[in-house]
């Protein structure tokens, strides 16, 4: 037991995919290890237990209203200053201000979308089951979809993805609506697939924190795939999803 060269920090970082490639391979190659294996199980269990704590809470309506008002005031004031400066130096025109407003609106939308993608990636990172897969653990789509029946407002499904093994899933609440969150093993990593009635982000792919967040409509539902994989591969998986 005392012969193992790896310490607690290394085992914990391995769970977070936080080791450099060479160190990770060496660490994985030395497993199972009488010292590290029980330690990894304990660390993963603690990590999993914490994953159940809420990461989002709605502020009171008054706080939200005030924050949104501050946002408008903040960006509005900036726009006013921009307009004043443009006029003062003779470069301003109605068209320029209109363009600024348009840019504001468009980039505002972009910001919202990055935010949604960011939140989905955070959900993915927090939910990936390291110890036991979620609330329903099965590779059988029928078993998994049965778990969701009666809980979601749409027809429960567990799509099959090419070269990806279904692990299970859990219910999650997004924007107040219950949504399916499915897990798949794809090559060396776990992917999250959100199945919802409404789009969770814009159609297509966007990247956030080194992850792809790809979304596409399939009949009555919208599938959103989240994972650390190339965009083309994410698109391929989604386009070949069988409901």
């Amino acid at each position: 037991m005392n012969q193992c060269p790896y310490d607690l920090d290394t085992a914990s970082a391995a769970l977070d995919h936080g080791l450099p490639e060479v160190e990770r391979k060496a660490f994985e190659a030395h497993l199972p290890c009488a010292s590290c294996t029980p330690r990894l199980e304990a660390l993963a269990a603690a990590r999993h237990a914490l994953g159940h704590l809420p990461s989002r809470e709605e502020p009171s309506g008054a706080v939200r209203a005030r924050v949104e008002a501050m946002q408008l005031k903040s960006t509005g004031a900036r726009l006013q200053r921009t307009r004043g400066r443009l006029l003062a130096v003779g470069l301003g025109s109605i068209a320029a201000v209109t363009a600024a407003l348009l840019a504001l609106v468009l980039t505002g939308r972009g910001g919202q979308d990055s935010g949604s993608a960011d939140l989905l990636v955070a959900d993915h990172l927090r939910s990936v089951p390291e110890v036991r897969p979620a609330e329903v653990a099965s590779g059988d789509p029928e078993v998994v979809s049965r778990f969701f029946e009666g809980h979601v407002s749409f027809r429960a499904i567990a799509p099959t993805l090419p070269n990806a093994q279904l692990l299970g899933g859990r219910l999650c609440r997004i924007e107040g609506k219950l949504t399916e969150l499915l897990f798949y093993q794809h090559e060396q990593q776990v992917l999250s697939l959100f199945v919802a009635e409404e789009p969770l982000t814009v159609d297509g792919c966007t990247s956030s924190r080194d992850h792809q967040v790809c979304s596409s409509s399939h009949g009555d539902v919208v599938l959103t795939l989240v994972g650390k994989l190339p965009r083309e591969e994410a698109e391929r998986l989604l386009s070949h999803a069988k409901l």
Binding site: A11, S35, R47, R56, T75, L79, L119, A122
Partner: protein
């Protein structure tokens, strides 16, 4: 056009920041143990953020930036409160047995109140690091930015916190109520 771009970026950041309102709210409420002041602090965090939008150089760091503002704001708030002797808090102990016996299945099945109690038994430094990693899914890099310590320290704090939590949660049935008094930093 350059001016437009600069100001459009500010609008983008402000808009993005608001999407993190529920996460910042959960973070502040947790750090203040759901004190009545929590929502006022959240509002203050966003007020400060909107005032200093230009300080954020990388939009991708927006969430970590907000969390850092929130954490600093809560620490200031705690210092004010701690100046009052009746509110002095007890810190938990972070010592971990070299090879503790842990039953992973018991840890995983721990109920929310047991998890909260175990978290309360950790020091604030360990608790913040592990919560940012495992509840908010922050990377080591982001946590280092939020709590302003080197990445190696983050890595070590998370590891020790997880092991201590596993030990406490595994032990919960054997020693009910054995986690010690919980502080306001939770």
């Amino acid at each position: 056009m350059i001016l437009t771009g600069v100001h459009a970026d500010a609008a983008e950041v402000a808009s993005l920041a608001v999407t993190y309102l529920p996460e910042v709210t959960a973070f502040v409420r947790r750090m203040t143990a759901h004190h009545a002041d929590a929502d006022d602090l959240v509002q203050d965090v966003f007020e400060r953020a909107f005032r200093s939008l230009a300080d954020l150089e990388d939009v991708a760091r927006c969430r970590a930036w907000l969390f850092r503002i929130a954490r600093n704001r809560v620490i200031d708030w705690q210092r004010t409160r701690l100046a009052r002797p009746e509110l002095r808090l007890l810190e938990g102990t972070d010592s971990v047995a070299s090879e503790p016996f842990v039953a992973p299945e018991r840890v995983e099945q721990a109920q929310a109140d047991a998890i909260e109690a175990a978290l309360g038994a950790l020091s604030a430094d360990l608790r913040d690091a592990v919560l940012l990693a495992d509840v908010w899914g922050c990377s080591y890099d982001e946590i280092a930015e939020i709590v302003q310590v080197p990445i190696g320290t983050v890595r070590s704090r998370i590891a020790r916190a997880r092991l201590r939590l596993a030990e406490l949660l595994s032990d919960q049935e054997a020693k009910p109520g054995a986690f010690g008094k919980r502080g306001a930093r939770s």
